[in-house]
Subunit: 151 residues, 2 copies
Amino acid sequence: MVRFPLPDPMRRALDLARIAAEWGEVPVGAVVVKGGAIIAEGHNRPRESHDPTAHAEIVAIRAAAAKLGNERLDGCDLYVTLEPCAMCAGAIAHARIARLYYGADDAKGGAVAHGARVFSQPTVHHRPEIYDGIGAGEAAALLRDFFAARR
Amino acid sequence: MVRFPLPDPMRRALDLARIAAEWGEVPVGAVVVKGGAIIAEGHNRPRESHDPTAHAEIVAIRAAAAKLGNERLDGCDLYVTLEPCAMCAGAIAHARIARLYYGADDAKGGAVAHGARVFSQPTVHHRPEIYDGIGAGEAAALLRDFFAARR
């Protein structure tokens, strides 16, 4: 079997997930890429920031929009270690993310391939290209270890 | 026909929607109520704040969580003039909002009674009590006038 190296943005998203775990937050990381460069990043931090919306994707998208001075992230891609939830999938659509790359599946909280399937709704106003499973093993292991340590 | 007066929090949400329109933002307003008092409010402002996540509900929920110093808004209710989208419905679930009161239906962007139907998914981790149609006529008129003026 040929093993392809992980793309650099997903490596960075996994590093951010590790930082989240060190903070005691569920380990999920995300980066926004434009023109081949990372322009914003974030990790899960709802507890520390007292903000139920502070998922990795939302933190990264808000930072990218602030940096670009535009609510629309045209031509930007998002890399995230876990399948986005309904909140984050909605934000990805509002931000007009061009391509979504995600790692591990989330059968319980995910809303891309599971549950609300936000991008599969005929009413969705923007649907990114979607690539799943990138770095999935590593992303899932981080989550598994995090929750195992808390039991 | 007996006409009931609008609850005060929805009156305030409608005022906030009017402020949004004055700013040139799609007129939607929201307030968070705890123990009978408004503890946080927000209106739609993605353009002005360069933030695709700055819907009325998200602005109000983030402000309430910051005020309470807790990512969970236990015992809090949310009043919003329009049916929440997938992003906002997800945030409402993460915030553990007890009761959701909304005004106008949104067949295109809504994700409570339409589209992704976030709270109807068996996987949803929290489902508020939901009351719709409160102040719907006034909320819909604000939106209609806003878009008519832009044509």
